[in-house]
C-alpha cells in the first residue's frame, strides 16, 4: 500500500542533487604502543539522489568502518562527511541503517521494534502506530506485527530491519551486508523485493548505499559499484552499471559485467589494486607482517583437486569455479589467494591456474603432500620461516606465543595477528614443521611422544 507519506519524492530532477559528500576521510584504530593502524585512507565519495551505490570489497577492507562513519556512529580521524553541504556530526534523522545481524530487540514485538526509533522524536502514539503499520505493510510483514523476532525466519527478521529503517522516512538508507546472514533463496527474494519497491518509487528514500562482498549482489542491485582495496581501505575503481531493471543473472551482459568486476579485482597490473594481490614475490617483500587468512589445509587441498580434475584440467574461470563448487565468490577468493600465496596457483584476470608445485601436490600421497606443503611454506610465508628459525636457534627448542604475536602486532591489529597466528599454527602442524601447545601457549620442535 502506498499512501502519500510513503511515496518517494520525485527522482526526475534534471541534474541529480548531491546528498552526501565524503571528502578525504581517513580512519585509524589505536593499537597499543606503536603507531595507529590505518583502516581508511583518504576516501572520497559523492552520493547523488536517485542512485543505489555499492561498496564492494573483501572483509576487513574498511567498508563497514566507512558506513559507521556515515551513520554517525564513529568519527573519522581525518576528513569530512557532509550531508546536503553541511558537516555531519553524530547520527542524523535523514540517514537510517540496516544491519547485517538484523539487530532486533528480542524482547520487543515486530511492531515495537519498528516503532522504537519514532519514540525519541516525540511523535504521538497514534501516529507512531499508523506509520509503523504502514512500513510493516510495505515490506510484506502483515500479520506478524505481534510476533517476537525469535518466532521469525531470518528473512522475516531482516524485513523488520528494513521496516524499522523505512519508518523513519530517511533520505538515505545504509545497508551493511544486509543479505549475507540469509540463505541463498531468502536473500534473493528479499533483494528482488527491495529493488521492486525502489523501482516503483514506493520507498521513502532518495538514495541507498550498501556494503557488500558479493560481486553478483552488487551487480544485481547497484547503479554504481565502488571497488574497495584492503589495508588501508580506499576506493580503487568505480564501475557504473547501466543495465536496466529487472536484471537477470543469466543475461549475457550481466555475466560479462560480473566477469569484468572479477577481472578488476584480480588484475595484477592494476596499480590501484596491488594491495589485493598476493603473488609470492609481493608476499615475500611484505615479509613477516603479512596478514594470513586462517584457511584449513583441507580446503586448500580440496580446491587444488577440484582444479586439477575435469572439466577444469588445471585452469578455471573464477565465477565458473564458484558455480561448480556452489561456493560464494567471497568464500572462494581467500582460498584462491592463499594458493597463490603458497605458490601452488596463479590468480589473474578473473582466472585461476594451477602451477607446477600445485600439480605435484595433487598427484602426491599423504607424506609427499606434507613435504611439499612444508617446502612451499618455508619458501613463501616469512612468518612460518621465522617461527621455525627461532625454534631452531633456541637451545630449549621452545618459544612462547607472545614472541610472535607481539612482532605481528607491529604490523596489524591484535585481531588480525591472532588470525594470522592461527593460520601459522594449523599450517605448521599439517606440514609437521613445529608443534604447538595450546594450554601452555608455546611453540616447540618436539614431537608429541
Amino acid at each position: 500500500m502506498a499512501s502519500d507519506i510513503m511515496t518517494a519524492p520525485a527522482r526526475t530532477a534534471p541534474a541529480p542533487e548531491v546528498l552526501l559528500e565524503i571528502a578525504e576521510v581517513s580512519q585509524t584504530y589505536a593499537k597499543g604502543a606503536s603507531d595507529d593502524l590505518l583502516v581508511l585512507d583518504g576516501v572520497n565519495i559523492t552520493l547523488k539522489a536517485g542512485e543505489i551505490v555499492g561498496l564492494l570489497g573483501r572483509s576487513g577492507s574498511g567498508k563497514s568502518s566507512l558506513l559507521r562513519i556515515i551513520a554517525g556512529l564513529a568519527r573519522p580521524a581525518a576528513g569530512e562527511v557532509r550531508w546536503r553541504g553541511r558537516p555531519l556530526r553524530g547520527p542524523s534523522e535523514a540517514i537510517a541503517m540496516v544491519f547485517q545481524s538484523f539487530a532486533l530487540f528480542p524482547w520487543l514485538t515486530v511492531l515495537e521494534n519498528v516503532e522504537i526509533g519514532l519514540e525519541p522524536l516525540g511523535i504521538p502514539t497514534a501516529e507512531r502506530r499508523s506509520r509503523s503499520l504502514q512500513a510493516i505493510d510495505l515490506i510484506g510483514l502483515d500479520g506478524f506485527e505481534n510476533a517476537y523476532p525469535k518466532e521469525l525466519s531470518g528473512g522475516m527478521r531482516q524485513r523488520v530491519g528494513f521496516a524499522r529503517g523505512l519508518v523513519m522516512q530517511p533520505e538515505l538508507l545504509l545497508m551493511d551486508e544486509p543479505f549475507s546472514a540469509l540463505d541463498v533463496l531468502t536473500a534473493e527474494t528479499l533483494r528482488t523485493d527491495v529493488i521492486d519497491l525502489w523501482m516503483e518509487g514506493r520507498l521513502p528514500l532518495r538514495s541507498i548505499l550498501m556494503v557488500s562482498h558479493n560481486i553478483e549482489e552488487a551487480v544485481l542491485m547497484c547503479d554504481r559499484i565502488l571497488l574497495f582495496t584492503a589495508s588501508p581501505g580506499r576506493v580503487a575503481a568505480e564501475i557504473p552499471i547501466t543495465l536496466s531493471h529487472p536484471r537477470s543473472r543469466t543475461d549475457a551482459a550481466f555475466r560479462k559485467l560480473v566477469d569484468q568486476v572479477y577481472e578488476r579485482m584480480t588484475n595484477p597490473s592494476d596499480p590501484a589494486l596491488t594491495a589485493e594481490q598476493t603473488t609470492p614475490e609481493q608476499a615475500a617483500s611484505a615479509g613477516v607482517g603479512r596478514k594470513l587468512p586462517d584457511i584449513s589445509t583441507n580446503l586448500l587441498a580440496g580446491l587444488m583437486e577440484a582444479l586439477a580434475a575435469p572439466p577444469f584440467k588445471g585452469k578455471a574461470d573464477l565465477p565458473e569455479l564458484a558455480d561448480e563448487l556452489t561456493m560464494e565468490v567471497d568464500e572462494l577468493f581467500p582460498i584462491a589467494e592463499t594458493l597463490q600465496l603458497l605458490g601452488f596457483a596463479e590468480v589473474a584476470h578473473g582466472d585461476i591456474r594451477l602451477i607446477e608445485p600445485g600439480r605435484r601436490f595433487v598427484e602426491s600421497d599423504v607424506d609427499g603432500r606434507k613435504r611439499l606443503f612444508s617446502e612451499q611454506l618455508l619458501a613463501h610465508v616469512p612468518i612460518v620461516a621465522l617461527v621455525r628459525r627461532v625454534l631452531d636457534e633456541r637451545p630449549s627448542r621452545r618459544a612462547p606465543y607472545r614472541r610472535f604475536s607481539e612482532e605481528l602486532e607491529d604490523f596489524m591489529s591484535e585481531e588480525f595477528a591472532e588470525e594470522t597466528l592461527a593460520a601459522v599454527i594449523s599450517w605448521g602442524r599439517y606440514a609437521e614443521l613445529f608443534a604447538y601447545d595450546e594450554q601452555a601457549q608455546t611453540f616447540s620442535l618436539e614431537d608429541p611422544a
Binding site: 554517525g72 541503517m97 539487530a103 530487540f105 528480542p106 526509533g117 525519541p120 525469535k150 523513519m168
Partner: protein, 582 residues
C-alpha cells in the same frame, strides 16, 4: 538456561580469566579495612548498654512464628531493594567510566571475600551511632548486613552485561538516538535482566543464612534481638528448646518454598524472553506454574496493562540533553594528567587508610598477636580445604550419577537448590547439642557445620554440569567401551570440572563465612569453641573489641582473596579452556 545453569553468583575472576593479585587489590583492600576502622572509631562512644524502651520480648510460642517469618522476609526484601539500587548505580558507573571501573571492580572482588558476619559488628555499631537508642538503628544494621551479602555479585552481573552488550544493538540505539535514559530501559536493563534475576536469586538464597544470623547479635554489652526467625532460634538455643527449633526449621522451609515458587521461579521463567541467544534444544526451558497462571488470566492482564504503560511512560521521560562540557574542560578531564591525578588520589587515600587502620589496631594489638591471627587463619583454611575435599569426594560422584539420569536430575535439582537456600545455622543447635552430649572434640566436630549449608552448591553445580555434558560424547565413550576409572578420569571429570570448580568456590566462600558462627557455637549456657579465625572474630565481637574484629576480618579477607586468586581462578581458567570445543 537458568534452572540448569550452574548455580553460582557472578564473580569477576571466573568471568574475566586469571588475573594475578595486583597493586590495585592492595589499594582497594586498604580502603576497605580503613573504612571499617573509621566506622569502629565513630561508633566507639555508642557502645553503651542498649536501652530500647519499646523492645518487644521474643516469644517461643509457635503461633508468633508466621509474624516473625514475615518480618524476616521483609528485611530480606528491603535489603534486595537496596541491592538493586546499588546495582544500577555502581554497576552502570563501572561500565561507563574507566576510572570508576578501576576502583569498583576490585572493590567488589574484595567485598565479596570479606566475611559478611564480620561486617555485622560494624554495622550495628555504625547504625546505632546514627540512631541512638532506637530499634530503627538495629533494623537498619540488620538490613545493611543482609545487603552486604547480596549486592556484590548483582553489581558485577549488571556491569558484565552492560560491558558485553552486542555491538549492533548498541549501534542501533545510537543511530536511533535513543538517549541514555531510554537506552537504559530498552536495551541495558532488559539485556541484563536474565543474569541479574539469576544473581538476585542466588543472593537471596545465600542471604537467608545472614538474616538469621543478624537478628540476634551481641556486640560487647549490646545485645540486639529483632523479632524474627533468627532471634526465635537464638532464644530457643538459650532455653534448650528443641521443639521450638523444629518449628523454626519448618517455618523457614515453608517460607523458602513460597518465595521460590511464587517469586523467583516466575521471574526466572519470565526473564527468558530477554535472552539474546536462542536456548539450546536439549535443555528444558524454565517454566513456572505461577507465571503460566498469571499470563493466562484475563484479570492479571488487565491489572498489568496500566503497570506496563506506566513503565513505558517512565522510559519515555525526556530528560534534558546532557550538558555539553566545554572542549577545554573535557580535554583536561580525559587527559593523561587527570589519570595520574586520579591514581595519586587513590594511592594516597589507600595509604592513609592503611596507616589509620594499622595505627588503630596497633594501639592495642601486638605484632605477635597478628602472627597468631595468621596461624588461626591457617587452621581455618585447613578446615575449609578438608571440608571442601570431603564434600567433593561425596557429592562429585553422586552428582555425576544423578546428572546422568535426567529424571532424577530434574527431580533433585530443585531440592538441592532449596537445600542451598536453607539457612543451615538454624540446624546448628542440633549438632551442638549432640557434641555436648557425647563429649566430642569441638575442634573436629564443630567443623562440619561450616560446610553444612554450602556443600549443596557442589552437588547442584555438578548435576548441572553433567546435564550439560554432550550426549554424543557419552555415547562415543560407551561405544568404545570406556569404563571405570578411565571413564571418570578421561571422559566425565574434565567435562564437569568448570561447573565443579564454580560450585566449590561458592562452597568454600560459604564455609569461610560460616566459620564465624560455626567455630564458636553454644547450646544453652554451654559454649563450644574450636581453634580458628572464625572463633577469634566471634569472640572479639562478643567482647565488643572492634580492633580485633578489624584484624580478624582483614586476615580472613586476605586468605579468601589469595586462595581464590592463586588456586580457584587458575584451576577454573584451565578447566574451561580445555573444555572449549573451539
Amino acid at each position: 538456561m537458568p534452572v540448569h545453569r550452574p548455580l553460582s553468583a557472578s564473580r569477576r575472576p571466573l568471568l574475566a580469566g586469571y588475573t594475578p593479585p595486583n597493586i590495585w587489590d592492595v589499594v582497594v583492600f586498604a580502603l576497605v579495612i580503613g573504612a571499617l576502622t573509621l566506622i569502629a572509631l565513630g561508633g566507639r562512644e555508642t557502645l553503651q548498654p542498649l536501652v530500647v524502651a519499646n523492645r518487644t520480648p521474643i516469644s517461643l510460642d509457635p503461633a508468633v512464628l508466621p509474624g516473625y517469618a514475615l518480618r524476616t522476609t521483609m528485611r530480606m526484601f528491603a535489603a534486595m531493594a537496596l541491592s538493586l539500587l546499588c546495582t544500577f548505580v555502581f554497576g552502570a558507573l563501572a561500565a561507563k567510566s574507566r576510572r570508576a571501573e578501576m576502583v569498583i571492580i576490585p572493590l567488589i572482588d574484595v567485598l565479596q571475600s570479606v566475611p559478611v558476619l564480620g561486617f555485622l559488628s560494624f554495622t550495628v555499631t555504625g547504625f546505632m551511632a546514627l540512631f541512638p537508642g532506637q530499634v530503627l538503628g538495629v533494623e537498619f544494621a540488620a538490613i545493611f548486613a543482609i545487603f552486604t551479602s547480596q549486592a556484590w555479585n548483582m553489581v558485577f552481573s549488571f556491569y558484565h552485561s552492560t560491558r558485553t552488550l552486542p555491538r549492533d544493538l548498541k549501534d542501533l540505539s545510537d543511530s536511533m538516538r535513543l538517549g541514555a535514559w531510554r537506552r537504559f530501559w530498552t536495551l541495558e536493563a532488559p539485556y541484563a535482566a536474565p543474569s541479574l534475576i539469576w544473581n538476585a536469586m542466588i543472593s537471596m538464597s545465600g542471604a537467608w543464612f545472614f538474616v538469621v544470623a543478624s537478628e540476634a547479635i551481641s556486640v560487647g554489652r549490646v545485645t540486639v534481638s529483632l523479632p524474627g526467625v533468627g532471634s526465635y532460634v537464638a532464644l530457643a538455643i538459650v532455653q534448650h528448646d528443641l521443639r521450638a527449633i523444629g518449628w523454626a526449621v519448618l517455618t523457614m522451609a515453608l517460607v523458602i518454598l513460597a518465595y521460590d515458587q511464587l517469586l523467583f521461579r516466575p521471574l526466572v521463567a519470565w526473564a527468558e524472553k530477554f535472552r539474546l541467544d536462542p536456548p539450546s534444544t536439549d535443555a528444558p526451558i524454565p517454566r513456572s506454574w505461577v507465571l503460566d497462571f498469571l499470563q493466562r488470566t484475563d484479570l492479571t492482564r488487565r491489572l498489568w496493562r496500566p503497570v506496563q504503560s506506566f513503565l513505558g511512560s517512565l522510559a519515555s521521560v525526556r530528560l534534558g540533553r546532557p550538558i555539553d562540557l566545554t572542549p577545554g574542560f573535557s580535554r583536561v578531564w580525559s587527559s593523561r594528567y587527570a589519570d595520574w591525578g586520579w591514581y595519586a588520589l587513590l594511592a594516597l587515600t589507600g595509604a592513609l587508610a592503611a596507616w589509620r587502620a594499622a595505627a588503630y589496631i596497633g594501639g592495642e594489638v601486638s605484632l605477635g598477636e597478628v602472627g597468631w591471627c595468621l596461624v588461626l587463619g591457617l587452621i581455618t583454611l585447613l578446615r575449609v580445604v578438608v571440608l571442601v575435599v570431603v564434600a567433593s569426594a561425596v557429592w562429585l560422584p553422586l552428582g555425576v550419577m544423578i546428572g546422568l539420569r535426567p529424571r532424577w536430575a530434574a527431580a533433585l535439582q530443585p531440592v538441592t537448590q532449596f537445600l542451598a537456600a536453607f539457612p543451615a545455622n538454624i540446624l546448628y543447635p542440633l549438632v551442638v547439642a549432640a557434641v555436648v552430649r557425647f563429649r566430642l572434640a569441638p575442634d573436629i566436630w564443630l567443623s562440619p557445620l561450616m560446610i553444612l549449608g554450602a556443600q549443596w552448591y557442589i552437588l547442584f553445580n555438578v548435576i548441572a554440569g553433567t546435564r550439560m555434558f554432550p550426549a554424543d560424547l557419552l555415547e562415543a565413550a560407551a561405544s568404545m567401551r570406556i569404563r571405570g576409572w578411565t571413564w571418570w578420569r578421561k571422559v566425565i571429570l574434565p567435562g564437569v570440572l568448570p561447573s565443579y570448580v564454580t560450585g566449590a568456590v561458592t562452597a568454600g566462600g560459604g564455609a569461610w563465612n560460616a566459620a564465624i558462627v560455626a567455630e564458636a557455637a553454644s547450646w544453652g549456657s554451654t559454649r563450644l569453641e574450636a581453634h580458628g579465625l572464625g572463633a577469634y572474630i566471634a569472640r572479639a565481637t562478643a567482647d565488643g573489641d572492634l580492633r580485633r574484629v578489624v584484624l580478624g576480618v582483614a586476615v580472613m579477607a586476605v586468605y579468601v582473596v589469595l586462595f581464590n586468586r592463586l588456586v580457584w581462578d587458575p584451576l577454573f581458567t584451565s578447566a574451561a579452556r580445555r573444555l572449549r570445543a573451539e
